[in-house]
Amino acid sequence: MSVDYAAQILEGSHRAAARLISWLEDEDERAYECMRKLYPHTGRAYVVGITGSPGAGKSTLTTALTRVIRKSGLKVGIIAVDPSSPFTGGALLGDRVRMSELADDPDIYIRSMATRGFLGGMAKAAADVVRVLDALGKDVIVIETVGVGQDEVDIVGVADTTCVVMVPGLGDAIQSMKAGIMEIADVFVINKADHPGSDMLCAEICARLDMDAQLRERGWVAPVNKTVAVEGVGLDEMWLSIESHRKYLLDSGRFYDNRRERISREALRMIHGELFRVVREQLEQNGRLDAAVEQLMNRKLDPYTLMRDIVTDWLSSSQCKRRRDEDTQS
């Protein structure tokens, strides 16, 4: 490698970080050597997730929150995720429109990411990008998810504090009792709180939280914040809520537990991804997949048998053995 991107990133180069993030998105091999060097310098930044339905004001809220965080001198990295088209693979990433005023602060780095077919409200590489921004020296990393519905909750696997943004007028009390997104909030935010119905929504969320407390012992009860993000109202209180949650995590030991669980899950996910890539490559190259699909179509073979055969064959294949031998030697 001619340019040492890792060294440049550790010195705070936005440009080097930008290129590494592109490689991570593309699953380009060049990324991994860099990430290996950066890994020891990660784990320091605090990660805040902002999630909620489309149009709830997540981008505006992220911008206004960032302004508040910057007042304390902390450096901020923002990851803004928008959906890729399932048909063309392209994407229109519009979160930056609301973030214009942050564009020329050198201590803020904003990256728009497309989901590229990854479900759950996040981009596949988002966790890797968090590490890059962490190594880049950002103190707080704010991830704004895709506009989500009820069940896209992957943000909890990446964020230390998850803020669920709701707006008045989208549903009755039953919505607030359901599983999924209502369960993942460490902090609730009622944005557009100047619109009618915000008191009702607040009451419904509080009722749910009361019910939750009766069902199960909880160390942390999510505070409910009201904001009007376009006017910058309520953002100081929202940041205080996030900081209180951080303090709770640290004092209770949950911070360590959560991070440990996350690292374990991520390691498994990476192993899963790489194994799948290697096997798929092999199947595509030797033509076995095409042949098998033909048989599956004719019902001469079933996918359950195929799956077991392929895994058994692969485990006993020479390539796999060679890798094992190499491992035992080294």
Partner: protein, 132 residues
């Protein structure tokens, strides 16, 4: 995962007409690119910062208010200062044909006037975009 072309679509200056820019952002997204729309009233500094942070391969500038001869070369200049010469710059909007030469000489990859077939723009970008 295949590499995707990343594009910034920006409106420099005070011009508030972004129907064309939005349409073109959608056309490029339909062509499989990842297009970041920056919104209105961008300074050249904001556009270049966005291009840097997003690792943009292409920056599209739209102008309908006659300020292209100032803003477009200014963006080119700032990109050069940051060593981002490999980023493809394309412009469009209401731009008199007699200005095309000046803008291209100052570093714009291409200028597309009204009525340009959108496929021509997409093909030009795909043919001239950098490798990374």
């Amino acid at each position: 995962m295949a590499r995707k072309i990343k594009m910034i679509m920006a409106k420099p200056g005070l011009d508030g007409h972004d129907r064309g820019a939005k349409l073109l952002a959608r056309i490029c997204a339909e062509a499989g690119m990842e297009v970041v729309y920056t919104g209105l009233r961008q300074t050249p500094e904001m556009i270049v910062a966005a291009a840097e942070q997003e690792d943009a391969d292409v920056v599209g500038l739209s102008s309908l208010s006659g300020v292209h001869n100032y803003f477009f070369p200014r963006v080119v200049e700032l990109m050069k200062q940051k060593g981002m010469e490999d980023v493809l710059l394309v412009g469009g909007g209401i731009i008199p044909e007699e200005d095309y030469d000046f803008l291209k000489k100052s570093g714009m990859g291409a200028i597309f006037g009204p009525g340009t077939p959108t496929t021509e723009i997409v093909e030009f970008i795909q043919a001239n975009v950098r490798q990374r």
